[in-house]
């Protein structure tokens, strides 16, 4: 929490009020306590008050219950990551208190439920302790139920008091959330919230007020990465999808199953992962680009069918919400260890496109870009999201939907003749005609996984296999030529260049900001197009002494993470090395900073 100014205490018994420009609040309890709901309210409030917001949450992989946290970072300026250390910890239980107290910065405030938590003397020195009997006061407020329901709203009221949050907007959010349920639910929710809000927390500790946020010209929408992916797919015009449930992908399929019928589309829950990608392949064959998706193990299962889409030149979008692997791995934790799988999974030479969104907003637009690449180049496209983006909530400007939404209904006008695998084009891209289209010369194609001639009929001809293999590769080379050169964050020349992909963009850029503020020569480059790679990277790399690829995956047998390995293979540049980690957690800014700074101090300053 950065205090920009400390104003004198307000009148009466209130402790002092400080103006701040951002705060990191961590809420720790059990997963059934409605912790995510508090986080969701705070995030949406931030969106409605033009503040920046970033959240981080963990959910246990156990079926019911278990410890769970939600961390929200709100600020008046740009918020790039969920924050390394919390300013305030709200702890519901002893295990929440003991497990998360060290995530507080020194001097931070822990607000604990004194009905459940016995504070420890050794921590009282380091952290400000505020005990509130949250459980009993909630029961008192909403009328004597033995259940723990409502204490999340009581706690939200407490936080609203501590941070002088906009009560009217919070009341509106709570009312909206519970509307449609029994009226007493809304009444109880508001009662618990008000009770928390009128607790005289200000007598015990300082309270805070956020600096005025810079004014935004557009309204903000608040959602998590899985929601943004699903709505991006809809905006892109996709009207058919199929999948099998798996964490953390399932939200996307749940949303698409619920939403697509409004647009005349269908989403099918299949018997397994292979059926899902097969059904999507079938729907693409017969019409618009279709979508399937999964996480780790499910993606492994889809690989043979993905190879068919490469061979048959079928447009298809495959979303992979990555989690820790291999095998069942870490179902509810994050890792970026599926890059090699996305780029190279499936047998044979099977070129496909791989994109990675870098934040929640980017999920929305990347989904649209993936659909458009798929249908322009008749190729399967991977979208590599991950558990961290999937579950974090961000606010971003409402997209201009009238402009962004597209109709990709195929053209069924009869054609004179049709060769699905036409070899005459220089970029390898053939025009695609979908099943159901009349072909006037009476010669109909077969979409096939066998090596084939221009009509799709099987061949073992060495010449055709060479020509078709090159055709499938040339399409991606043609795509690469159209990709923009990525922009360097920070000066284009310097000592260390941090390269990242996917969800690590925020913490990497924040690390650059902090390093530069300390006088170190560090810049960053973030890649969205991972296969094929965009042009111009060699030029960018040449401006730096060291290129460190920051990835949440293992350093590998030879010391390089998955993207680092790709870049080294592509550029044969020995200055490319990695900053890797495999703890199943998102990068902290500090972790990146410390390892980047080690390079700077290793005597490699430029000039």
């Amino acid at each position: 929490m950065s205090h920009s100014s400390a104003s004198p205490g307000a009148s009466g018994a209130e402790a002092k009020v400080s103006t701040i420009n951002e705060a990191v609040i961590r809420i720790a309890g059990n997963s059934q306590d409605g912790i995510q709901a508090i986080g969701g309210f705070l995030a949406r409030l931030a969106g409605r008050t033009e503040q920046e917001v970033m959240t981080f949450m963990t959910i246990p992989s156990t079926i019911s219950g278990g410890p769970s946290i939600f961390q929200v970072r709100m600020g008046s300026g740009e918020v790039l990551s969920a924050g390394d250390e919390a300013d305030v910890l709200l702890a519901f239980y002893q295990h929440s208190y003991e497990g998360h107290i060290t995530s507080l910065r020194k001097g931070g405030i822990v607000v604990y439920d004194s009905d459940h938590v016995e504070p420890k003397a050794e921590w009282k020195e380091t952290y400000n302790h505020v005990g509130v009997p949250i459980s009993s006061l909630t029961i008192e407020a909403i009328g004597g139920t033995a259940k723990d329901k409502g204490k999340n709203l009581y706690a939200l009221g407490l936080l609203a008091r501590m941070f002088d949050l906009n009560l009217t907007k919070l009341e509106a959010l709570i009312t909206e959330r519970f509307t449609g349920k029994d009226h007493s639910v809304v009444t109880n929710a508001l009662a618990a919230f008000h009770a928390g809000n009128s607790y005289s927390v200000g007598q015990v500790i300082e309270t805070f007020r956020f600096q005025e946020a810079r004014h935004r010209s557009s309204q903000q929408v608040v959602m998590n990465g899985n929601e943004a992916l699903a709505y991006g797919i809809i905006a892109a015009g996709v009207r058919f999808g199929a999948a099998y449930p798996i964490t953390p992908w399932s939200d996307v399929m749940e949303i698409l199953r619920r939403e697509l019928p409004k647009y005349g589309g269908t989403f099918v829950q299949c018997e397994d992962e292979i059926a899902a990608i097969s059904m999507a392949n079938g729907a693409s064959f017969a019409g618009r680009v279709a979508v399937t998706g999964s996480s780790g193990p499910g993606i492994s299962l889809k690989m043979e069918a993905l190879g068919w889409a490469v061979m048959a030149e079928m447009p298809l979008v495959v979303i992979n919400v990555q989690r820790g692997g291999p095998s069942t791995g870490l179902p509810t934790q994050v890792e970026q260890s599926d890059l090699n799988l996305a780029c190279f999974g499936s047998h044979g030479d099977a070129p496909r496109v791989v994109l990675a969104p870098s934040d929640v907003e980017d999920c929305f637009y990347t989904a649209i870009e993936a659909v458009n690449i798929a249908r322009t180049y008749n190729v399967p496209v991977f979208v590599l999201s991950d558990q961290a983006i999937a579950t974090r909530i961000e606010a971003f400007p409402v997209p201009d939907l009238e402009k962004v939404c597209q109709d990709i209904t195929p053209d069924f006008t009869p054609v004179a003749e049709y060769k699905p695998y036409d070899l005459s084009t220089s970029n390898g891209v053939s025009h695609r005609v979908v099943a159901g289209t009349r072909i006037l010369n009476g010669r109909y194609p077969v979409a096939t996984g066998l090596e084939h001639d221009e009509m799709g009929h099987p061949t073992g001809s060495p010449k055709l296999h060479m020509q078709m293999t090159a055709k499938r590769r040339r399409k991606l080379q043609a795509l690469a030529d159209t990709l923009p050169v990525p922009k360097v964050y920070g000066p284009p020349e310097g000592n260390v260049l941090l390269v990242g992909w996917g969800s690590t963009r925020g913490p990497i850029q924040e690390a650059v900001d902090r390093a530069r503020a300390a006088g170190d020569s560090v810049s960053a480059l973030h890649l969205k197009h991972l296969n094929p790679l965009p042009p111009g990277l060699d030029n960018i790399f040449s401006g730096f002494n060291m290129v460190r690829v920051v990835e949440m995956n293992d350093e590998g047998l030879y010391g390089f993470g998955q993207l680092a390995g790709l870049l080294r293979a592509r550029y044969c540049d020995p200055k490319i090395t990695g900053i890797n980690k495999t703890d199943g957690l998102t990068f902290k800014v500090r972790e990146i900073l410390e390892r980047a700074r080690a390079d700077v101090t290793a005597g490699m300053r430029k000039l």
């Binding site: 949406r44 409605r48 309204q219 929408v221 608040v222 929601e227 709505y231 809809i234 905006a235 009207r239 058919f240 199929a242 019928p261 409004k262 589309g265 269908t266 299949c270 018997e271 292979i274 059926a275 899902a276 097969s278 059904m279 999507a280 392949n281 079938g282 729907a283 064959f285 017969a286 019409g287 618009r288 279709a290 069918a305 048959a312 409402v398 939907l401 009238e402 962004v404 939404c405 109709d407 209904t409 195929p410 053209d411 069924f412 006008t413 099943a435 159901g436 289209t437 072909i439 009476g442 010669r443 109909y444 194609p445 077969v446 979409a447 096939t448 996984g449 066998l450 009929h457 099987p458």
Partner: protein
């Protein structure tokens, strides 16, 4: 076909009206126009007969090229789409049914036919068979059952009878075979019929009835592999001294238990329609879901529907 408009309905009116009724404006196709590549099957293979009768049905029912979609997985019989002059897909091993479901669920204007072997449909694709049947997805699935893996040259198949000597069971098959008819009935297929390549008129009759069925229709068609299992079906062929038992005229096709009992008869068993009931298809159910959802957003463009959702996320 009962499913009304779904999302991939053709964009231009001519196709939208081209429901799969017999074509009346255009001249019916001749066998020459329907045939594509010369089949690569061995001389004498039962599959030739199935292909010829598929052509005959297209001819007889005056179907149009572009309204037929022929889909298969991997195996000898799965070469089928290459021999038919129509949009086709030669998909991966065992997964033809989910692929075909993707076509059927998004294109109510197309006839979707799946041809596969016993290995493709009942071994590697066994799970998909069960689920496509239980969802009652509107398509026709013909299992060209030869009791052996032919393409890979004589390994045991899931329908090989006990004791069949193959390259993977040189002493004779030890695993109990699957009965495709029982499998189909138990999985919830709404049309289940059995025929054999050696009775062409009967094959045609079953194919037509299957095509006309609104739901998942399944045909087990015995199709002899003369190379690796010669004589397998002689007992069902009167020309080889066998007997062709038609389903008794007293059989009630709506009686699931009676159908199961028919399926339980020892080889050569019965031929004809074992089971035929009408149940709402997944196609129709999804169309119903869509109609209900669309009713709430009448007159709105897609972007306006999405805008409404985003307005709630502010």
């Amino acid at each position: 076909m009962s499913a009304p408009q779904t999302q991939n309905a053709p964009a231009h009116p001519a196709s939208a009206n081209a429901v799969p009724a017999p074509n009346t404006e255009r001249k019916g196709l001749t066998k020459k126009e329907i045939a594509a590549d010369h089949p690569t099957w061995c001389p004498g293979c039962g599959d030739f007969s199935v292909l010829a009768l598929y052509f005959k049905m297209i001819e007889k029912r005056r179907l149009e090229h572009e309204k037929i979609t022929t889909i298969s997985g991997i195996g000898c019989s799965s070469r089928f789409p290459y021999f038919v002059q129509a949009h086709g897909a030669h998909y991966i091993h065992g997964r033809s049914l989910p692929f075909a479901s993707g076509v059927a669920l998004s294109r109510p204007d197309l006839h979707v036919f799946v041809f596969g072997g016993d290995g493709d449909l009942f071994s590697i694709g066994g799970n998909h068979f069960t689920h496509t049947a239980r969802k009652n997805i509107k398509l026709t699935c013909v299992a060209m059952d030869n009791w052996v893996y032919g393409l890979t040259k004589k390994q045991t198949s899931p329908t090989s009878p006990l004791g069949f000597k193959s390259k993977t069971d040189v002493w004779g098959a030890v695993d109990y075979p699957i009965n495709p008819m029982k499998q189909a009935i138990a999985a919830g297929a709404t049309f289940v019929a059995r025929t054999t390549h050696s009775n062409p008129n009967h094959v045609l009759q079953m194919m037509e009835a299957a095509m006309d069925h609104d739901g998942f229709s399944f045909i087990q068609c015995l199709s002899e592999c003369v190379e690796f299992y010669e004589g397998a079906f002689d007992a069902s062929n009167p020309r080889k001294g066998g007997i062709f038992n038609a389903v008794p005229t007293t059989h009630d096709v709506a009686d699931e238990v009676a159908a199961y009992k028919l399926a339980d008869a020892a080889f050569p068993g019965y031929f004809g329609v074992f089971y035929n009931v009408t149940k709402p298809t997944k196609n129709a159910k999804e169309a119903g879901v869509n109609a209900a959802a669309a009713g709430k957003f009448k007159g709105l463009k897609d972007w306006q529907i999405l805008q409404k959702t985003f307005d709630r996320m502010k």
